[in-house]
Each structure stands twice: as structure tokens, then as C-alpha cells.
């Protein structure tokens, strides 16, 4: 995805209370930051959830908004991991229109990117790509030579490496 403003990847650790997502979303949108991706899942302790949020907007000022998010009573911490050495993964499902003749080439590209074919019909296939978001970008670019019918991406999930906490 091409975006003029850099996308920052934040990890937010929250108490699992009603309204917490709305409060966080409001804090960003009020200041003109757009949420590009969002993944929410329960933490090991079910009382808490972890959100991985991709936001786009001016880098200058983002630190202040992060402090504003951190200030929310239901937020335990909000950390910008954009420049950290962290494990960042994403999954994409891409439905491509391919005829029987085109199928071979499409599968070759899929294989190159380590994709699985999770659905196959006479006229289309669905590729499942898991990995580095940039790699999925590259895959999408390659596969665009065929007609992409539909595409969905989970958005990034992230964990800090080794002794670091997310």
C-alpha cells in the first residue's frame, strides 16, 4: 500500500472493558490520525486485551497522542514499535480471477511468496499469504497482473523480540 504519511505501529495493552476501543479510536480521529489497521485479541490473562494499531498521520505530534491514549483509564500502556526490532506479521487473503491457462503462472508466483492456495475454482483462486507486511505488498503488486476480485488483510500483529516487552 502506498501512503504519503508513514504508518506507525502501536501496541496497546488494555483492560477488557466495554468502550475501550471507542475511546482509543476517538483519541486518534479527533486529532486527524487515521487508523489503517487494527487487531484486537485477548491477552493471556482474559481480563486484558492487546491491540495492534497501524495509524497514519504526522509523526510530529504522535508522541503526544500516544501519551493521551496512555492516559485513558482502561489503557495500561501504549507503545510505538515502529522503529523497534520486533516481529511483525500479517495475513492476507487474495481472490484472483484466473483462467485454466493462467493458473500455472499464478501458482508459480504464489509458490515464490510461500502462499497457500486455500480455494480453487475454474475461474478463480484464493491465495493465503502470511508474513512480513512488505512481502504481502510485493505479492499483491505481482499478482495484480491478473484481476484481483477481492482482497482482505488482517492488519499487522506485533511482538517485541527477546527480553523486550510489547
Amino acid at each position: 500500500m502506498i501512503n504519503a504519511k508513514p504508518i506507525h505501529t502501536l501496541s496497546v495493552y488494555v483492560t477488557n472493558k466495554p468502550g475501550v476501543l471507542a475511546r482509543i479510536a476517538q483519541t486518534f480521529s479527533r486529532r486527524g490520525y487515521n487508523i489503517e489497521s487494527l487487531v484486537v485479541s485477548p491477552a493471556i490473562d482474559g481480563n486484558f486485551s492487546r491491540m495492534t494499531i497501524g495509524v497514519s498521520g504526522e509523526a510530529d505530534g504522535l508522541d503526544q497522542i500516544i501519551r493521551q491514549v496512555s492516559k485513558l483509564i482502561d489503557v495500561l500502556r501504549c507503545v510505538d514499535h515502529t522503529y523497534d526490532d520486533a516481529v511483525v506479521k500479517e495475513m492476507g487473503l487474495i481472490k484472483v480471477a484466473v483462467s485454466a491457462e493462467e493458473r500455472g503462472e499464478a501458482l508459480q508466483i504464489a509458490e515464490h511468496f510461500g502462499c497457500k492456495t486455500v480455494d480453487l475454482t475454474d475461474t478463480s483462486m484464493i491465495l493465503q499469504a502470511v508474513g512480513d507486511p512488505a512481502k504481502i505488498d510485493a505479492l499483491v503488486e505481482m499478482i495484480e497482473k491478473f484481476k484481483i476480485i477481492e482482497l482482505v488483510r488482517t492488519g499487522k500483529v506485533l511482538l517485541a523480540r527477546g527480553a523486550e516487552t510489547t
Binding site: 468502550g19 503526544q64 501519551r67 483509564i73 489503557v75 495500561l76
Partner: protein, 577 residues
């Protein structure tokens, strides 16, 4: 506390009592009947004040809290009752006032189905609360109430809302009235001061020759006014406050520069342009004080001390900052500093004080300033002053000097017209022994004037001063100065006879028209103690407030005196509103 058979409403009243709540300001309705019933069936020391409009209840709780430092409670019904308090919540939120708002809600199983008088008040108020709750079970009441008061009153205070479905207040309560809080995400400052930071700040201060201390509302909230005075005297450094910081440092003190900002003193504003160090303690660098942020204090070392980390760098990037409670910080800093060589600087400032004093004319038509000044003198500067919003607010702040904390109550961040009357009522409930004066414009007064009934009923000896210029004066001033005097939508023709209006509520009224009568009538109003009184002051209709820094312009663009007729046209302001 032991387990007893009770319902949610009764448990709620018990919990509020345990929090030390003295007053509930509110209005009844279907969804809160179980709570009102509990006020009878679960006897407590809490007094209920029935208002005339829910906005009034919110501002009363706000005025009570500002005047006492203690949180008050607002209780209203669901739907329109709840939406009527939003302005009051926003007003308190902008000015960091502790408040707990209880709203009734439809029964749980009808929420989201457009039940009668259902409003998603939890959702609607999210951006203007410090925190909020939607109760699910009666047994959650003790924990929620404890958390709400804790959150509202600690750190940077603010309003907390609890939405209470009717089945929760009516349902049976089977838990312990004493519950532990569970708010692992609430990051309260530990109270430990970062010594290295304090030393760094002390070091910067020691090098300064033209320092200014800027004291905000945070100093008052932390109760650090005495410590601030000691610090300023030790350093021999001048102090200016924000509008909400009035009272954090005695304005009659020789080191005081009064308050700064759009209509603050010329000398405080000039000091911002000339200082070499600005020590901001507990102010959020509101746009009303910094003008154009690109040019604010560009030559100075800026130090920002705040309890709220999110305020650091929001408007102005400081060279040094410290996250701390204002009082604890000042105490610590005082140990590391000594007297500064500020003789020259203080002389310069005194020169500006001489050259650009706050002034007005006692001749000609009656001036608002004249009335305010007389109230200041005859009440010995000791009253609790509450204002509404507009020109009169600025003049009240200019001419009623504040020497003690929590004595000047005004809607600063929100600028909420209609604040004055109910906030004064709340303040008088909280400070029954003190004189409370409400300075209101004729516009704002009419926004919440119906609460005169509440004041009359409780025989509160408030002085309601209606500074009646028959205009929405502050807006008219902008239209005159920046829009070639094209006045539109500001003429308050149709104003009632305010003295007759007071009379209708059984309230004593005074009419004041002539400068020669000011002393006599102000004296009579201050002496009248049988209940509220109202003083309708027919003042100059087209006076303007100066100094003035046009919104968003740099402080250097301050207009100190009224521009002469035919002088150069002023550029339109570029700042927020």
C-alpha cells in the same frame, strides 16, 4: 460494612455517603425513581438540591467543587435529563474539575432498542469525561463508586459519569458495601519527584536574570499556593497566573503581574516577550495565553511542570519538563534555589505596571469596571467571585483582584455562558459563611436565570450582579474591531426587567444606573443577607475590553488601549474562535 438486604439505589446512597458526599444536585425522572426512593429509605446525611434544569445541576456541582476542592454529585434521569448535563460535564472537563455524574438509564434489556428516554449517554459523553461507566449489576455499585471518586479527585481531576440502568438501581444488592478498586490502567503519579530534573531546573533558574513564574490552575488544585509564594519570595521572581490560576499567588503582592493572556495585563504579556526563563507550573499553555505558538517565548528557556504527561509538548515544547504534583515540585525546588539577581528586571516590570495599568473612567455612562471595582473594595477583596462568560468576565478578572485560592470561579477552557448563576449557587452551598458574588452578563444570565428559584428557596445570600449592556458584548466587540462594526445577532433587545424578574422569585432587586449611586447600592447589596439579591446595572452599551491579543496572533500584537477612531483597520484573528 456488613451485608444487608437492600436494593441498588440504597447501596448507591450508602456508598455516596461513605465518600463524604454532602450534596447531590439533581432532577428526577422515571429511570432514577429507585435512587430518589433510596434517599428516603436509606437515610443518610446527604442533602438533595432540586434544580430547575439539569444544566444547572451540573454547574452547581462544578461550582461547589471549585469553591471547596471537594467533589460534588449530579443526579439526573435518562435521555433528555442526561443530555442536558453534557455542557456542564464538558465545562468541568476542560477545567479539570472533580465531579461525579449519575445518570439514569433505561432497563438493561431495552438498551440499544430506542427505549423511551433512552440515550447512549455513555457513548455521547466519552470525549468529555475523565472516565465513565455503564453499570451492569447492583453488586458492581460499591467498586464503581469508589473508583469514580478516586479517579475524579486524584491526579489531574475531572468528571466521571456513571450510567445506571433502572434494573440496576431497583435490583437487589447482595454484595459487600466495601469493595476494592480494580483499575490497573490508572497511572497515578507516584508523588516521587525526579530529583535530577529538579536540579536541572534549579540550575537553569540560577542562570536567569529575567525569570517569570507562570502559575496555572494546577497550583490551586494541588494546594500549593503557600509554597508558591515562598518560592517566589525566595527567588525574588515575578509571578503571573492564568485566568484559572487566579488566587494561586496574591494579586496584591508586589511580585504579582496579575493574570496573562488575551485580556490579561499588558505587563504580564510583555513579560512573556522579554523574559529569559519561563517556569510554568500547572498550566496547559492554553491558546488564550500563548497567542501564536510559533513565537511564544522564543528567546526564553521554557520549563513545564505538570501532573499530566499528555500536556508536555502539546502546545509548546519546553526545554525542560517535569511530571509532578505542583505543590510537591515547588517544595522540592525551593530547597535548591536561592535569591536571583532580578533587580533590573523587576524595575522594568514596575515601569510597565506604571505605564500600562488596568484602568477605566468613572465619568460618563456607568462602566462595568466601576461596579466590579466597588464590589472589590467594599467586600475587602475577600468574596468568592463567580463569573459568567463575556466582557464582564474579563473585567471581573481584571478588577476583582484575587488573593486567596478557590475564590475566583470562572469557566475558562469551555467559556460556557450560563455558568455563572448555578456555579455561584453551588459555591454558596459549599462555602455558606463566605460572601459569594456572581458577575453575569445580561446574555449569560438569561441562559440559566431560572436557578434563581433554587437560590431563593434555600435563602442563599448570593449577590447576582447583572452587568447589563443590552448586548452580547464580547461578540459585539469582535464585530466592531474586526468586522467593520457590522453587528449581527448580538443586540439583546427584549431583555426583561431584571428587577421585576427577581421580584417574581421573591428576590430583592436593585437598579443601578448612575456612577454616583454605585457605592451606596453595592454597600446595600453586600449588607443584604436575608437571601439572594439581584443588582441590575445599566452600563455603557458599547465599551470594549483591553488589553487584547487577537486570537492566534503573537503576543507582540497586543492592543493595549482602544484604537483611536479612524485608525488602521485590524486584521481578523486567526486563532481558535
Amino acid at each position: 460494612m456488613e451485608k444487608t438486604v437492600m436494593d441498588g439505589g440504597q447501596a448507591l446512597i450508602k456508598c455516596l455517603e461513605a465518600e463524604g458526599v454532602e450534596y447531590i444536585f439533581g432532577y428526577s425522572g422515571g429511570s432514577v425513581i429507585p435512587i430518589f426512593d433510596a434517599m428516603i429509605t436509606a437515610p443518610s446525611n446527604i442533602k438533595f438540591v432540586l434544580v430547575r434544569h439539569e444544566q444547572g445541576a451540573a454547574h452547581m456541582a462544578d461550582g461547589y467543587a471549585r469553591a471547596t476542592g471537594k467533589p460534588a454529585v449530579t443526579l439526573v434521569t435518562s435521555g433528555p435529563g442526561a443530555t442536558n448535563v453534557i455542557t456542564g460535564i464538558m465545562t468541568a472537563h476542560m477545567d479539570s474539575v472533580p465531579m461525579v455524574i449519575l445518570t439514569g438509564q433505561s432497563v438493561s434489556w431495552m438498551i440499544g432498542k430506542d427505549a423511551f428516554q433512552e440515550a447512549d449517554i455513555f457513548g455521547i459523553t466519552m470525549p468529555v469525561v475523565k472516565h465513565s461507566y455503564l453499570l451492569k449489576s447492583p453488586n458492581d455499585i460499591p467498586r464503581t463508586v469508589r473508583e469514580a471518586f478516586h479517579i475524579a479527585t486524584t491526579g489531574r481531576p475531572g468528571p466521571v459519569l456513571i450510567d445506571i440502568p433502572k434494573d440496576v438501581s431497583a435490583g437487589s444488592f447482595t454484595a459487600d458495601l466495601h469493595a476494592e478498586m480494580d483499575i490497573p490502567g490508572y497511572k497515578l503519579h507516584s508523588g516521587k519527584i525526579d530529583l535530577a530534573k529538579v536540579k536541572e531546573i534549579a540550575e537553569a533558574i540560577s542562570k536567569s536574570q529575567r525569570p517569570v513564574i507562570l502559575a496555572g490552575h494546577g497550583v490551586l488544585i494541588s494546594g500549593g499556593h503557600k509554597e508558591l509564594r515562598a518560592l517566589a519570595e525566595k527567588l525574588n521572581a515575578p509571578v503571573t497566573t492564568t485566568l484559572l490560576g487566579k488566587g494561586a499567588f496574591p494579586e496584591t503582592h508586589k511580585l504579582s503581574l496579575g493574570w496573562l493572556g488575551m485580556h490579561g495585563t499588558a505587563y504580564a504579556n510583555k513579560a512573556m516577550c522579554e523574559c529569559d526563563l519561563l517556569l510554568n507550573i500547572g498550566s496547559r499553555f492554553d491558546d488564550r495565553i500563548i497567542g501564536d505558538p510559533k513565537f511564544f517565548c522564543k528567546e526564553a528557556t521554557v520549563i513545564h511542570v505538570d501532573i499530566d504527561p499528555a500536556e508536555i509538548g502539546k502546545m509548546i515544547r519546553p526545554q525542560i519538563h517535569c511530571i509532578a504534583d505542583a505543590k510537591l515540585f515547588i517544595e522540592e525546588l525551593s530547597k535548591h534555589v536561592g535569591k536571583l539577581n532580578t533587580g533590573e528586571w523587576l524595575k522594568t516590570l514596575d515601569g510597565w505596571k506604571q505605564k500600562y495599568p488596568l484602568k477605566f473612567k468613572r465619568q460618563g455612562n456607568l462602566k462595568m469596571q466601576h461596579v466590579i471595582d466597588e464590589f472589590y473594595k467594599l467586600s475587602n477583596g475577600k468574596a468568592v467571585v463567580v463569573t459568567d462568560v463575556g466582557q464582564h468576565q474579563m473585567w471581573a478578572a481584571q478588577f476583582y483582584k484575587t488573593d486567596a485560592p478557590n475564590n475566583f470561579l470562572s469557566s475558562g477552557g469551555a467559556g460556557t455562558m450560563g455558568f455563572g448563576v448555578p456555579a455561584a449557587i453551588g459555591a454558596q452551598f459549599g462555602r455558606p459563611k463566605d460572601t459569594v458574588i456572581a458577575f453575569c452578563g445580561d446574555g449569560g444570565f438569561q441562559m440559566t436565570e431560572f436557578e434563581l428559584a433554587t437560590a431563593a428557596l434555600h435563602k442563599l445570600p448570593i449577590k447576582f450582579v447583572v452587568l447589563n449592556n443590552h448586548y452580547l458584548g464580547m461578540v459585539r466587540q469582535w464585530q466592531e474591531l474586526f468586522y467593520d462594526d457590522r453587528t449581527c445577532g448580538v443586540d439583546l433587545e427584549g431583555n426583561p426587567d431584571f428587577v421585576k424578574l427577581a421580584d417574581a422569585y421573591g428576590i430583592k432587586g436593585f437598579n443601578l444606573r448612575r456612577p454616583g449611586d454605585v457605592k451606596r447600592i453595592v454597600k446595600a447589596a453586600l449588607a443584604y443577607n436575608k437571601g439572594p439579591c439581584l443588582i441590575n446595572c445599566e452600563v455603557e452599551k458599547t465599551d470594549n475590553v483591553f488589553p487584547m491579543i487577537p486570537a492566534g496572533k503573537r503576543i507582540e500584537a497586543m492592543i493595549i488601549e482602544a484604537p483611536k477612531a479612524g485608525s488602521k483597520k485590524l486584521e481578523k484573528p486567526t486563532g481558535s474562535t
